[in-house]
């Protein structure tokens, strides 16, 4: 046994002894707060509450003094008040009449702004389609005696109905250039489809079945037409292989080569074609057509003058499909009336592109009109 072990053993014994004697393992309870409570019964609790909420007894009450019998009753006479003084305006002090508005700078308002046209809905992204409910309540159409592609709000009662909406033009005395006075005109009231009595009273949500889907937006039609190539004619001529290849390439790639035999301007833009179509459809009245004629598509040819007016004698039916001879005749007559009536003032076509629209073939397809 060496010294180190003896010292270690003694040290450990001393430590154990201190722990036992010094009270390291004594466990006194931890100190905590004690609150004394008193259990009371329901009746006692109610009695306590009643005592707390009872109003304080009023010791003394002020009672008003009774009126003395000698007091006079208040005067209740009902004489009318004197009329307030009104200064009469001087008769000859009338304000000067308003000067006539200067309309020379006025531009006709955009007809689209004054219509009741249903809001144009943005076409949702393809990946959003699943979120769009398939059945959505249609805006309730407003009935009108006329059914047209665009809804038109009822015009002012004293405004003349015309094919185009124009503001009134009054002569302006002060203006250097005197405007030709013109009556205000407005488009005739129109709804986009026939509204029956039963539909007028129904809720917006259909109860039985959905109507056919809405027609595609006009912008879509325009874009469909836009890509149509309108290359200039390229004569097919016998040539060497190389030249033939060049010609064919040129024709296929959109007609870079011009045909010098017949001068012609650039083709009509899709917007110009659209304007022509809108102009004709305003006069294409299918309301009096038989149901057979409403199933008949007619292709009508017309030669145009440079002033944009159709040559009425040149209007002829090229073909008809979908109905019998009688139906085709009625359908053609309605189409002819549309071209003549709306062309009477001349269609708005660019004269520099006259060669593009010298001859026009119009296909009148009433399919969409059958479901109105």
């Amino acid at each position: 046994m060496n010294t180190g072990q003896i010292i270690s053993g003694a040290g450990h014994l001393a430590l154990i002894g201190w722990a036992l004697i010094g009270g390291v393992f004594r466990s006194d309870p931890l100190p905590f707060e004690v609150t004394e409570v008193t259990a009371i019964s329901t009746e006692e609790y109610a009695a306590l509450l009643a005592r707390d909420s009872a109003p304080e007894a009023v010791a003394s009450i002020d009672t008003p003094e009774p009126p003395a019998p000698g007091d006079l009753a208040p005067d209740l006479s009902s004489a009318a008040d004197a009329p307030p003084e009104v200064t009469q305006p001087e008769a000859n002090d009338s304000p000067p009449p308003d000067a006539a508005p200067d309309v020379s700078q006025m531009t006709p308002p955009d007809p689209a702004e004054v219509t009741d046209a249903p809001p144009v809905l943005d076409v949702p992204q393809e990946d959003m389609a699943a979120m769009v409910p398939e059945v959505s309540p249609r805006p309730q159409p407003r009935p009108a005696p006329r059914v047209a592609p665009e809804a038109v709000a009822p015009p002012e009662p004293d405004v003349r109905i015309d094919d185009v909406a124009n503001p009134e033009v009054a002569p302006d005395q002060g203006a250097e250039v005197v405007e030709e006075p013109a009556e205000a005109t407005a488009l005739e009231e129109a709804a986009t489809e026939i509204v029956t009595e039963a539909e007028k009273l129904e809720q917006a949500a259909p109860s039985v079945s959905m109507r056919p889907k809405a027609r595609p937006a006009r912008a879509t039609e325009a874009t469909q037409e836009a890509p149509k190539p309108a290359p200039e004619p390229t004569p097919q001529k016998p040539a060497t292989d190389k030249a033939a290849v060049n010609d064919a390439l040129a024709a296929a790639l959109g007609g870079a080569q011009q045909n010098n035999d017949r001068p012609s301007g650039p083709p009509l833009t899709s917007g110009e074609k659209d304007a022509l179509r809108v102009a004709v459809q305003q006069c294409w009245n299918v309301g009096s057509l038989s149901s057979d004629a409403l199933r008949t598509t007619v292709v009508v040819a017309v030669s145009m003058g440079e002033d944009g007016k159709p040559n009425n004698g040149s209007i002829r039916m090229l073909s008809a499909s979908g109905g019998g001879d009688t139906a085709a005749k009625q359908a053609f007559e309605a189409a002819r009336r549309a071209i003549i009536r709306c062309g009477a003032r001349g269609f708005d076509l660019p004269v520099e592109k006259y060669d593009s629209w010298r001859d026009i073939e119009m296909t009148f397809n009433p399919e969409k009109m059958r479901i109105k």
Partner: protein, 440 residues
Amino acid sequence: MRMLATLLTALSLWALPAVAQSNGPLRIEITEGVIEPLPYAVPDFVSDNSAGADFGRRIARVIASDLSGTGLFREIPNEAHISRITSFESPVQYADWKAINAQALITGAVSVDNAGKLVVRFRIYDVFSGQELGSGLQFVGTQEGWRRMAHKVADQVYTRITGEGGYFDSRVVFVGESGPKDKRAKRLAIMDYDGANVSYLTDSSSIVLAPRFSPTGDRVLYTSYETGFPRIYVLDVASVGRRALETQPGTMSFAPRFGPDGRTVVYSLTQNGNSDIFRMDINSGASARLTDAPSIETAPSFSPDGSQIVFESDRSGTPQLYVMSANGGEARRISFGQGRYGTPVWSPRGDLIAFTKQSKGRFHIGVMRTDGSEERLLTASFLDEGPTWAPNGRVIMFTRETQGPQGQASLYSVDITGRNLKQVQTSTGASDPSWSPLQN
């Protein structure tokens, strides 16, 4: 070299359509139009002699009333006319009629010939194309029949412009009603389609119901309670003579309707508390059962070709419409919407079936295709019922009754598009209309 030729051919084929297109005319497609009444002018018909002067004005007014009453045409009043028609033969000043936007012009002349007959001539012009529509026509008739002659002219105008048959020279048989609702007197009456020339076919001693014209318009089937029980009678319009159809004792027969051959009649017969549909040869009296079900089958109506019958049955629990062969057999249900369907009537054109529908406390007149598709409700009111077709299948007339103890029944008409809903003017209450075919 061979490769080059192939390439050349391919390119030429590709390019050819483009070349062809560039030489052609401008092509546009019109798919949207407008639906509005077509403006027309009908100046007073000129008279070739003094006797016809008054007729000229009256005939023009009836034509205008007929055409404008369709909702498809709009008259430009005489006061707005620039040109005056003084002679039937003088050329038309198209520019004057164009200026007032008259798209159709009807001119005519009236005279009384030596035999006292009224002679009416007329022409129709397409103003904007500057040409006559068809050729002129002439009608000769009695002076008393001047209204019918005006209707005939209007029918011609209607047909030439729309391409559809007219319906103005037709009549309507109906039940004239008078007195309070709880003690209402009913009698059969007949009138022109526009409410003129009313005359009565029966007295009001017994209740009469549901008159139906024969396909030729000379006879009327109806149900009468003369014996205390409903029984079917056939009445000759010209002589007002009538006879009861033979039925078995102890049965009740009602809801009759002629077949297109004018000989066959379909009707409902109630026996031992059960109603079924029967058909009968009106000449021989031979009858045959077409349905045999414990449910109520009633309101049969033939298709115009006589091959099928549409009727009402509650075999599914609520009244619905069914179609079966004209000889009976398996029936096909065609109505599937919410509500109760009744009184189906096949259109004379064969393409549609008109019906009464009760749904959500309101009554509707509606049309559907013969397979039940494309149902469309045209009207809505407290009580609409009993549709009948105009001879051209374009217009429906029906009964509308107002609410309350003072409620009155009256006749209304509506276009099959739902437009032009209007009351038919009658001097008394009126219900249960049946439209005749066009008169000869």
